[in-house]
Symmetry: C2
Subunit: 337 residues, 2 copies
């Protein structure tokens, strides 16, 4: 299994990305990695690696990089020698079966559509985020690949999320929820109601509408929504974590008693925060493209990079793309391209 | 200032609602309250009240009530003798200047439009929730009155939120943010981009796009969004609180050390949770209708009810409705009714 890894994308690139590649080779015996980027920048971070492992790491030169601030669609089109473009080109040509990047999310989505290409019959791809909730890990899809959706898009996100949770998280008959403003059938607008009609006849375990409070509790395995909503929710979660952290820190600095209490509480808080740290749950899959395209969190360090590579590998080994194609056919919906 | 209070709406009705009325009379010297509901059910909760206070509390009989589970639009139309219908009818007739209810949110919105009536020029009302964020209280509008919006609706929510934050929260030149999937101008869909065009020429302090993470941090005083998004966010916040609480409780039961730590941490956690308890920040205003219609949280107890009555009183005294009318004219947008 050869996975292309964008060595230049992410807050801690290239150091942590390269370390993640080495770690993944140790964790997954069957993986090979194409480390795409500036060889001079990559070199110092892999030179201590054993020659045994280095047989499975191939440095692929890329002259250019795409920054976080660049306009995604423009960058991916114009920067043909960027590490992300080349990594995705390797998937398109079949040289590698998937790619992983911790870089510019918009460029990954744009590249997924323009370079890797959509699965035939998929109208728009969906970016899913596995969120650790109280009762399970839920895949929130879409979080920004498709800002506004047609009913068909939401339906296809559900089908693809179903495949993902079965293959990667080993969930049997994942429960699929459609995010709405109420659980009753009459809730939601036309978009949501039409999407629900698709799901009703589909070969998935459709749980109907879910509401905002069902996400942190973890009522379903997949939560389907428009990219705009998912993006706002995801960033809201990040902001809430930051706001709480800053508040607690402020409180602790201000008082003496909590400082003593904190010594006792620390192990618990640490465990809680780990549990809710979605960066550690592996990568975010871009579902609906012809390959395992996995977005690692921008802040990913070696462990998270390795985890994202593991997700790409599992998705390939368990034939994620082929399964999506079959599901679409079984789904029996008219799917023009 | 006579405010109609729905004595029968809410989880703790009528007991806590009645206590809230009595409390409000003590807190606000100029308030009078029409306590609308079943006189027999109300009686035990106000009989201990001093005759001085009772001069300002008037029991208005209502035979019927609207449940939380009822279909809002149907209930408000058919149940003409329900406490909510009568309270709103009093606003319509001018008998009272505003009303407060902790009951069925959908029925309050429907009643606001159908009974109290919209302000001339307002296309759709918006339900705002004052959210305590890190740096300030932000009004999130709309949280469910208007599921899907036109650009004009979003713009009018912003104008009305501006008036609300000035009159009730005494914020000078409130910053108005438009919730989107990115801060850059090109982000958002057509709806958001057209709404932004309205704001650009408007006499408000428009801060451009805000993102999900800006809400808990409190970057702007008003956050404008579609009712679907706002509703999902609001319920997500509630669910997150519940999930965290249940997790922490489980952890404490499981360990000894945190139990000791908890004794130290408790005062701090209590203060933090109070700070983020949006039920205590007063009521949620239904903006865009011809009167001060305030939704109190369903779980409101006496203090929260009194606080919502205070919000209604302030909104009336500071001429909230008239100010909205004037802002609309200054806003210079074409506003057909």
């Amino acid at each position: 299994v050869l996975i292309a890894l964008d060595a230049m994308g992410g807050d801690h690139a290239p150091a942590e990305i390269c370390k993640g590649a080495v770690l993944a080779c140790k964790q997954y015996g069957d993986i090979e990695i194409a480390l795409v980027g500036d060889p001079e920048a990559i070199k110092p971070h892999i030179e201590a690696t054993s020659s045994e492992t280095m047989k499975r790491i191939h440095v692929v030169e890329a002259e250019d990089t795409i920054d976080m601030a660049e306009s995604p669609a423009v960058a991916i089109r114009k920067k043909r020698k960027s590490s992300l473009h080349i990594a995705m080109q390797m998937v398109r040509s079949g040289e590698s079966v998937g790619c992983v990047s911790a870089g510019n999310t918009g460029a990954i989505v744009a590249g997924g559509v323009l370079i890797v290409g959509r699965i035939k019959g998929i109208d728009r791809p969906g970016l899913g985020i596995p969120l650790p909730a109280l009762e399970r890990i839920s895949l929130l899809i879409d979080v920004g690949a498709t800002v506004r959706c047609k009913p068909l898009n939401l339906y296809q996100f559900g089908l693809m999320g179903d495949v993902y949770m079965r293959t990667i998280q080993s969930v049997e008959q994942p429960r699929i929820g459609l995010l709405s403003n109420g659980s009753e059938e009459i809730k939601g607008d036309e978009l949501i109601q039409e999407a629900r009609n698709y799901f009703k006849d589909a070969p998935v375990n459709f749980a109907g509408n879910v509401e905002g409070q069902d996400i942190p509790i973890g009522v379903t395995d997949v939560v389907v929504c428009e990219g705009l909503t998912g993006n706002i929710l995801l960033k809201f979660i990040e902001g809430t974590g930051e706001a709480l952290f800053s508040l607690i820190r402020g409180e602790i600095e201000r008082r003496f008693l909590p400082k003593v209490g904190m010594m006792f509480m620390l192990p618990m808080l640490k465990e809680l925060s780990l549990r809710f740290d979605y960066e550690r749950t592996g990568g975010a899959p871009l579902l609906g493209v012809n390959g395992a395209v996995i977005k690692a969190h921008g802040r990913s360090k070696a462990r998270a990079v390795s985890s994202a590579l593991g997700v790409a590998r599992d998705f390939v080994r368990k034939q994620g793309v082929q399964t999506i194609v079959e599901e679409l056919e079984e789904g029996g919906v008219q799917i023009g391209d």
